[in-house]
């Protein structure tokens, strides 16, 4: 594996792999969590059961990307892992506990009809807390973390700020949009109409959120303004808001035409573009303003060994994940498409 260490820019490759894992997590568990957030709006009974069944076979695989993101960070950038997690301790613990409630609710609600309302509430509360905490984590990271030596040097309320609450709310809105558009694709009848109405509202909320976070980021520190608004970089960075506008237009058109899958795919693209925007803001740092990816990188030997495994396993993982989605393709509970 030594040839890997010398012929590949390992640290940069790993930064992209981890960013990719986080993105995969955000969009895949994003629609799971979004459905959880919207859950109370759905009618008890048929609508809720359909919404739950739309994600029951895949949520566990979706959540695994979070483990890859965290585990990958530990492995490829141990210093960043060791600084970020203590710094964002409360929101991370909140996220983990939220995911506990969300995850067990999938099984428990079917096992205990007498207390189904309770587990539905746990499903929603867990999804909401996890999404909010993830957004807060993002905002706090963008704002910057106090570092001294090889450790976090701030207090344990540093993560809480108007900006991090804004990013928290934005992620909740964005996940809800993903969830609603995924349901447009997966359910039919009244539930589908319901999902469409929700998707419209979540779309406008998400649009506002993107605008607010973008402007807010520029005011965070000089670095971001410089990165985004100085020429000649501007010609490159200007593509990001341009693409967002184009995608927003496409969303409106496909929704008006009553398309089923296109709104969800457009939302994925929208997430991708905004995620790339975040990447532009952060690069080449992993903790903005404090620790670069090179500072935090594990030794080449560690990164090369993992890259060897990832190069073999990733295509296999993507193949069987795609297979699992293929098995459960199409509408939930529509008799026509079952075998």
């Amino acid at each position: 594996m030594n040839w890997l260490a010398t012929s590949v820019p390992l640290t940069e490759v790993w930064a992209f792999i981890i960013a990719g894992a986080v993105f995969a997590y955000v969009v895949m568990d994003g629609f799971d969590l979004g459905i959880g957030i919207l859950f109370p709006v759905f009618d008890v009974g048929k609508e809720r059961d359909q919404a739950m069944n739309a994600i029951a076979p895949v949520w566990d695989g979706n959540e695994t990307w979070l483990v890859l993101g965290g585990g990958g960070l530990f492995a490829a950038f141990p210093l960043a892992y060791a600084i970020i997690l203590p710094a964002l301790y409360p929101p991370i613990i909140a996220m983990l506990l939220g995911l506990v409630f969300r995850g067990v609710a999938f099984e428990f609600r079917w096992r205990d009809p007498g207390h189904r309302a309770l587990w539905d509430a746990a499903f929603t509360a867990g999804s909401f807390v996890a999404a909010l905490a993830q957004g807060i984590i993002l905002g706090a990271l963008l704002e910057g973390i106090a570092v001294e030596g090889r450790a976090y040097a701030g207090g344990w309320w540093d993560w809480l700020s108007p900006f991090s609450l804004l990013t928290g709310a934005s992620v909740v809105a964005g996940y809800a949009l993903l969830g609603a558009t995924f349901l447009i694709y997966k359910v039919e009848g009244r539930a589908n109409d319901h999902a469409r109405r929700l998707a419209w509202r979540c779309f406008w909320l998400t649009g506002l959120a993107i605008l607010a976070v973008s402007i807010g980021t520029l005011f965070l520190s000089g670095r971001y303004i410089e990165k985004w608004l100085s020429t000649p970089g501007l010609f490159f960075t200007a593509q990001v808001p341009l693409l967002v506008a184009i995608l927003a237009y496409a969303f409106v058109r496909t929704m008006q035409k009553g398309r089923e899958l296109a709104p969800f795919l457009i939302c994925l693209a929208l997430f991708f573009v905004t995620f790339a925007g975040l990447g532009i803001s952060m690069w080449p740092d992993i903790i903005p303003g404090e620790v670069s990816i090179v500072d935090a990188a594990a030794p080449a030997k560690s990164q090369a060994f993992m890259l060897f495994g990832a190069a073999i396993m990733m295509p296999i993982i993507i193949a069987y994940t795609a297979y699992a989605y293929w098995v459960f393709r199409g509408k939930v509970g529509h008799d026509g498409y079952h075998d």
Partner: protein, 484 residues
């Protein structure tokens, strides 16, 4: 309110609590996934519907246990960073890649095929479905492989160097790091423990139903299979545990001294202390019941072999003796009780009384949770016995902890305790409720109609034709004849 404790002890309690709670579920689901694969394989091979009914019965339980394992496991993958950040920074270059391999080769495999296993029987057909079950079972084993390699490296670290910022970096071929000296023993001992734990649970459930209806074919089948496991695997486990102990003696002698309660060195043959009360202040075992020279015989295969005691270890490098002393005895006693149950079942089989010997069934019920207790006691022995280090003889636990205040760690600990007991307590209760129902093949019985799909299929699903396929409760799926 947490000022009375320091962050270190709270972080240790938190890790011990979350990892102990977590491990209960994989200890069960590793064995249960394999049991399900065996059941489905036997059904495909023989066409005997008893196997299919048992498969569906245990699949529901597996789904709950697995979900709890997943959510408590995600916590673990972040515990290293939140509470043990210095440890994470310093060991990340070696342990990180091994854990990344666990995610890449095991977690995705389990999670990817779990959906097909739980909900896909009607969609992919029996053979592909069996393949999905087998993948989940293989995934649980691969997961155990990597995480035990990580754990073993912390006990017997090899193949590393220290870099300029104090990180342990790989300095040997990865194969040497993965197969560090204690890993093969720990892997065998832990995986067998998981199989045995599951067998004892299955046996207890079978026994419970045999007490109520000794003719029930499903109860008979599961009890018989479980007792074969206990009879065959318990002795293997005792042997594997002995090998693991000898390996520990070689690499972590003070852990064995604490297990044995040997405060003093014995230059001419050490006694085996059966019972006694460790007295940490006086550094002796009070009220010891001991067999002279037996410990030397077991550990060195020589009655008169000298054995060093904890008097050769500096006080600040000594593991807490009383915990290790007791947890080890609990584990060993339960191991022999399992062996006893297995032998009793063989005798009952020989006398043709396996299914109508109520005292055997009662004993099997009592032994139902013993696997969990033994597994936890074993982990306590090995982990507490490693103290005061996280990486043995390299990195002190006290030097591994995150720079967090006691209130932060204490508050999160409290949250974990409340949430885990509430959520997982309820989950275990649901499992107990499920195993309380007698397994049977009853497709169209409305009382057992499943919940998973209520409301999706228009109209009551009575015949096979009218049932929507999202109706995936394992009990209620159409009988699919195995394709031969």
């Amino acid at each position: 309110m947490f000022d009375a404790f320091d962050a270190l002890i709270l972080a240790r309690i938190q890790f011990a609590f979350t990892v102990s709670f977590h491990f209960i579920f994989p200890a069960f689901s590793i064995g249960l996934a394999s049991y399900l694969a065996v059941l489905e394989g036997l059904w495909l091979k023989t066409g005997n519907s008893v196997y299919l009914a048992l498969y569906k019965y245990w699949l529901k339980i597996f789904a709950i246990a697995f979900a709890m394992g997943v959510v408590s496991g995600i916590t673990m993958s972040y515990q290293f960073g939140t509470n043990w950040s210095v440890f994470s920074d310093r060991t990340g270059p070696i342990l990180g890649p091994l854990m990344a391999y666990e995610v890449l080769t095991a977690f995705f495999l389990e999670a990817g095929f779990l959906g097909v296993m739980l909900f896909g029987m009607n969609r992919v057909g029996p053979k592909l479905h069996f393949a999905a079950t087998a993948m989940v079972a293989v995934g649980t084993f691969i997961s155990a492989f990597w995480i035990l390699s990580v754990n073993s490296w912390m006990h017997t670290p090899v193949g590393f160097a220290l870099n300029e910022v104090g990180q342990y970096v790989p300095a040997a071929p990865w194969i040497d790091i993965i197969f560090n000296p204690s890993f093969p023993y720990r892997l065998v001992h832990t995986v067998i423990a998981a199989y045995l734990t599951t067998a004892l649970v299955v046996g207890a459930v079978g026994a419970w139903h045999l007490l109520k209806d000794r003719a029930n074919p499903h109860a008979r089948k599961m009890f018989s299979m479980a007792m074969w496991m206990a009879a065959l695997v318990a002795p293997v486990q005792i042997f594997a545990g002995d090998m693991h102990g000898l390996n520990t003696l070689e690499h972590q002698p003070q852990k064995v001294m604490a297990m044995e309660g040997h405060y003093d060195s014995h230059p001419d043959g050490a006694p085996l202390i059966l019972f006694g009360i460790p007295n940490a202040e006086e550094k002796r075992i009070d009220y010891a019941v001991e067999i002279p020279k037996l410990s030397s015989l077991i550990l060195k295969h020589d009655l008169d072999a000298p054995l060093a005691g904890l008097d050769t270890i500096p006080d600040d490098r000594e593991p807490p003796v009383s915990i290790v002393f007791w947890s080890f005895r609990i584990m060993v006693a339960l191991g022999f009780a399992m062996l006893g149950l297995g032998l009793w079942s063989l005798f009952a089989r020989y006398r043709k009384r396996l299914y109508d010997w109520p005292w055997l069934h009662r004993a099997a019920i009592v032994m139902g949770p013993s696997g969990f207790i033994a597994v936890l006691a074993g982990w306590v022995t090995t982990e507490v016995g490693r103290q005061p280090f996280t990486v043995y003889n390299q990195l002190l636990t006290a030097d591994s902890v995150s720079p967090l205040g006691a209130p932060a760690v204490g508050a999160s600990l409290l949250a974990f305790v409340i949430v885990y007991f509430a959520v997982f307590g309820v989950g275990v209760w649901y499992i107990l409720r499920l195993v309380g129902k007698i397994p049977q093949i009853s497709e169209d019985e409305p009382a057992r109609a499943p919940i998973r799909s209520s409301g999706i299929t228009p109209g009551p699903a009575e015949g096979k034709g009218g049932r929507g396929n999202m109706n995936t409760d394992p009990d209620n799926g159409p009988e699919v004849a195995p394709a031969k």
